[in-house]
């Protein structure tokens, strides 16, 4: 157990900030599989909180609990100062309207064109909006992510990076106050990954969103994080800024950063054969 090794959170400068999401002793298990054992976490207004963790540690489960795709078993979840357990269905929908979710594989509606993908949530949330208004919003959303010329294409005609951008545009078109990103750069090449990371950063400054970014891409974490939480065995095992964690003397955290780098290394060498192995050795170094 590495419980006693967790880095003390550096919350001094956050003390006065408003927490938009608070989790206290959040638990979730699937039958005998205890995924979330005791999650205590706060997301402050305007920050990018990065959650790191190995595959299968329950990162996706955690953010799905926030939007209500998965019900948590026990504990307390407070969003915008309201305890989720005490809200009725209508109030929950009102809360969820203010949260955007970017799915791991973008979850584009592949029977619809790009335009219809963007119109779909708009037409259902802003009923009675005139058509030219919707057109304008769609165009604007696509411009924001640099996809203006794909409006009449099908999602299957887009590349992985473009799909991620479209997914992001579809989420942002509803002007969410909280953004949840589930592994936004996984499966993308390094250059596109960096573009997406920058886009996430831009979104945060432009719309003043508070975000949770799940990733095991250390570069993405470096570019986007204002704070990092590391999940391990269903609890928050470490917390701090990127620099704090990277320079941590704790063996486990160090190894964690190392493993992430190793993952990246394998991903690049094995999947992206065009990359030279030689230049990739640097990724092995923490």
């Amino acid at each position: 157990m590495a419980d006693d090794t967790s880095v003390k959170p550096n919350t001094d400068d956050k003390q006065n900030d408003i927490a938009v999401i608070e989790m206290e002793h959040l638990k979730k298990s699937f039958e005998t599989n205890q995924v979330l054992r005791d999650i205590n976490m706060k997301v402050y207004k305007g920050e990018n909180l990065v959650i790191l963790g190995k595959s299968g540690t329950g990162k996706s489960v955690l953010i799905k609990c926030i939007v209500g795709l998965i019900d948590y078993d026990a504990g307390k979840l407070v969003i915008f100062g309201k305890d989720v357990a005490e809200q009725n269905q209508k109030e929950l929908i009102e809360i969820r309207k203010r949260i955007g979710f970017l799915f791991q594989n973008s979850a584009l509606y592949d029977s619809m064109t790009v335009r219809e993908n963007l119109e779909f949530p708009l037409k259902r949330q802003l009923k009675k909006t005139p058509k030219d208004e919707i057109d304008k919003l769609v165009k604007e959303a696509l411009d924001n992510v640099g996809l203006a010329d794909t409006i009449d294409k099908m999602p299957s005609e887009l590349s992985g990076g473009m799909r991620k951008r479209l997914g992001l545009a579809r989420t942002l078109i509803l002007k969410p106050e909280i953004m949840l990103y589930d592994e936004p750069t996984t499966g993308l090449d390094p250059i596109t990954s960096r573009e997406i990371s920058k886009l996430i950063q831009e979104v945060q400054t432009k719309y003043d969103t508070s975000s949770i970014i799940i990733t095991h891409d250390i570069e993405c974490a470096k570019l986007t994080a204002s704070r990092i939480v590391v999940l391990k065995d269903g609890i928050c095992a470490a917390e701090g800024s990127y620099a704090e964690l990277e320079n941590s003397t704790d063996e486990w955290i160090k190894s964690f950063f190392f493993i992430i780098n190793l993952d990246k290394f394998y991903e690049r060498v094995i999947w992206k054969k065009e990359l030279r192995i030689k230049s990739d050795w640097e990724y092995l170094l923490p």
Partner: protein, 280 residues
């Protein structure tokens, strides 16, 4: 907090001690409880359908789109099978009737069996194979790729958009297809009659309508709504609740067809019983 955990593990221990022998438990868990659980959850799914179907806003555009694609795409298959069934039925009936010198009854007999029973059931089975599996696979793949979750998160009701429209479309389209298939079947029968001997279309029609009664058409037409509804519900249920894995898509499509076909026979049996109650 620790108390809760220890309590829980104690309960588990107790349960483990008092559990009946393994095999019967496994059989129970695997067959009976799953059967009842499945039945209960389909019933709940159907209940949810009725709850959502009547609540505005309605997805008219999607309903039209689904109706078109569900109906139109089944047309070629239904035409071919309907025609062949009518033709074959006539050719097969003919020798038997000829023995009694009652060849002129052939069109009437074929018409009655086609319209009462064979047309609706065969068309429904084809429909289950084509549309039921299609819906199952489509919704399952949307489930796997988290498209359904995405709709949910953007607060657009996926049940309404995906399930209600498809079930309604299936319910409305199957009766039309059955009528069409009956007509094509009768055409096949007309061709069959004319393969040996010649019967004018006028005579053929007179023979048919002589032996058909209102009671042949009405219940047969009515039950096709139930066929269509159950095929739609089963397909949607299997797809909507599929496993989140690639194998879930195939499984959903497969079990949708099997289960929907079974439902068609079950409903048919019930429908025949009910009709026979009223016919005397």
């Amino acid at each position: 907090m620790e108390n809760i955990i220890t309590n829980k593990s104690q309960n588990e221990n107790q349960e483990a001690e008092s559990a009946p022998d393994k095999i019967s438990e496994t059989v129970y868990n695997s067959i009976f409880s799953r059967f009842f659980l499945e039945t209960a959850s389909i019933a709940m799914f159907t209940g949810r359908f009725f709850k959502e179907a009547f609540k505005p806003p309605y997805e008219f555009n999607e309903l039209l789109k689904q109706s078109f694609s569900i109906g139109y795409k089944s047309l070629p298959l239904v035409s071919i099978t309907g025609f062949i069934i009518g033709l074959v039925l006539t050719i097969q009936t003919r020798p038997t009737l000829a023995k009694f010198g009652a060849e002129s009854w052939a069109p009437g007999m074929v018409a009655v069996s086609l319209i009462r029973e064979i047309g609706p059931v065969i068309t429904a089975l084809i429909f289950a194979g084509k549309v039921g599996s299609g819906i199952g696979a489509e919704l399952a793949s949307m489930n796997v790729t988290e498209q359904i979750d995405a709709m949910q998160v953007s607060c657009s009701n996926p049940f309404k958009y995906l399930v209600v429209t498809r079930v309604l479309a299936a319910t409305l389209m199957l009766p039309l297809l059955v009528i069409y298939s009956d007509a094509v079947g009768l055409l096949g029968s007309f061709v069959g009659v004319n393969l040996k001997g010649s019967v004018s279309l006028h005579l053929f029609m007179t023979q048919i309508f002589h032996s058909l009664e209102f009671y042949d058409m009405y219940p047969a037409f009515l039950k096709t709504f139930f066929f269509g509804f159950s095929i739609g519900i089963v397909g949607c249920y299997k797809g909507y609740n599929s496993n989140k894995g690639t194998e879930g898509v195939g499984k959903a499509a497969n079990s949708a067809v099997v289960f929907a076909s079974l439902m068609v026979f079950l409903i048919d049996m019930i429908a025949v019983q009910i009709t026979s109650l009223f016919q005397k």
